[in-house]
Amino acid sequence: MGLWLGTIQLGVKSLWLHPMRSILTVLGIFIGVASVIWLLAISKGIGDEAQRQIESLGADTIMIRTVKPPSEKMSSQGLTPYGLTREEYDMLVATIPTVRSAIPIREMRRQFQFKNRKLDGRLVGCTPEYAEVTKLELTSGHFITDAENFARDCHCVLSAKVAEKLFPYEDPVGQRIYMPENQDFYLVVGVLKPKGATAAIGGSMAAQDFSNDVYIPIRTLQQRIGDTIMTMRSGSREGEIIELNQITLRCRDVTEVKKTAELVGAALDSHSKMEDIAVVVPLELLEQARTTRAMFMLFMGMIAAISLLVGGIGIMNIMLATVTERTREIGIRRALGAKRRDIIRQFLVETSVLSLTGGITGILFGLLCGPAVTMARTLANTWFEKQMMDLPEVVRTVQPSIVPESIPGAFFISLVVGLVFGIYPATRAAKMNPIEALRHE
């Protein structure tokens, strides 16, 4: 033990003979280790965010979406109805036993007005379960009830942003908003809390940001607006006939999701000709996202590993120079009784001191990853506000999450790098003939 301690002291002293050189060498490992921790933390942060977004869709749900069929499938004259029907909704509810609840959804673009304030947003016709499945929470009032749906009441629930835009001063609950397209008034019965966006899923489902939504009972929507929507676009009338935009099924258990999805696919097989529906299974997406995240982290880890390798080569380079430079010292030590293994030990200890110093400081700096990213983002937000807005969502919001294993891992790797890249210079030092080493200038 005393021997090792003495060797370590000696190593530190020898390294301190060339402080600049030692610090630069340490820097190589420092950067390698810090980047292992940083890259893993950032990629995990991104992966976690993607996973959170998918999870917010609900792992136990299946979404069946109406999609616009390719134009050659539509008849050239008049409007072709397409997509999910209410009949199919009833059929799914009645025939698939593993379904706990099902929500029919109809959505459309609408303008909302209150007094002289206007806002373009999305009108969503749904049932009360919608709030639970999409994890909507209320700040005041209540979400649509079964009674309101049954009675086809002209009641609505506003998302936080709509409430804020239309009612900057008033309490929205109890007020009536106006929708000019169908000349109807709706009584506000509830206001939602702000909610983060959900994942964008392939082509079948755009990212939902829920921010400009107004929710009304689906039966009210059917009665007041109906299935046919005509819009004026660049002078010509366009329209669509859709009964339902989406059916969200909730399974009794997560384990039954895949089986249920198969049953749903079979039940709705008639749509395969039209290509007018898409089945989205968040659970599958979640699994995909996990694989993607693992791949991403592996990739990032490899990049970091390469930088560690470069750091290791730096150590080897310096140690080879050191060995040549200290040939005389090696000769002296051998003459005074050092065995080959004493010389090996001395040089290995020196490389280990270098690499572990880099490793430990790198870990400390790696732990600062979270606060550092937050600070950098705050600074960037104040100085380059415009440019920041143009950056993708992930860049603006990602919160690194340190992978716990990366800490001991990085420490271990830096130790191994030190030993591996130290062995060659050390054996070279030990192999030297002491007599020739003593003669060395």
Partner: protein
Amino acid sequence: MSETMETDGYACRVVDLKKEYVLKSETVRALRGVTFDIPVGDYVAIMGPSGSGKSTLLNVLGCLDQPTSGSLWLGNDDAAKMSDDELADIRSQRIGFVFQAYNLIQQLTVVENIQVPLFYQGRPLSPEQRKRCHDLAKMVGLGDRLDHRPTQLSGGQQQRVAIARSLVNDPYFILADEPTGNLDSRTTEEILQLFERLNNEGRTIILVTHEDEVSKRAKRVVRLKDGRLQWDKINSQEVRDEAARYALENMPVEV
């Protein structure tokens, strides 16, 4: 060749030592059979022209190099038959080296340099050993410079540190390869006086030199030529005293 040898009273005994260097073009016979004994307390100067094998002999005596054949008896062991590690152990435990170029380790202080051979004995230093290092530094007149680095010392001071270092493991003998070769006459005298004192205290000293003034101060002169012992003679006390007086009289005046 006898398997054992009477070694009591001898620092070392050299029997028919040969050393050959096999090169591609030729075989260099650096030592061609050297036999001599060094009793404990002797003070031997090895002389000889360049290339005569002085350094080769000294390296073998110092267990840095192994002879091609012959024996080197240190105590009851024949160093000629030892492994690399065993030789290293002997060097750290029973041999003192003093070099022409001092050969101190730059990053270590005076005391630490003195401790190096103990460090390789494989045990942590005992308090007695630490004290011994301090005492040795005092003995060579560097008691007030224990924490100095070699670069902060003069050549003579560095050589005195090297001598203190050579004594730290209580060696069979001190081997000195032209120890005064780099020093002016005043410091040379300092070092020679130090050797004389150590020899008077019972230390065995073997030094290589090519200066007659230095060799005359030793008790005995061994001359090598072409890898063989040319002659081996004892310096009378008169010769030694005369050389010492001459050195003092011709000392340059201190400025």
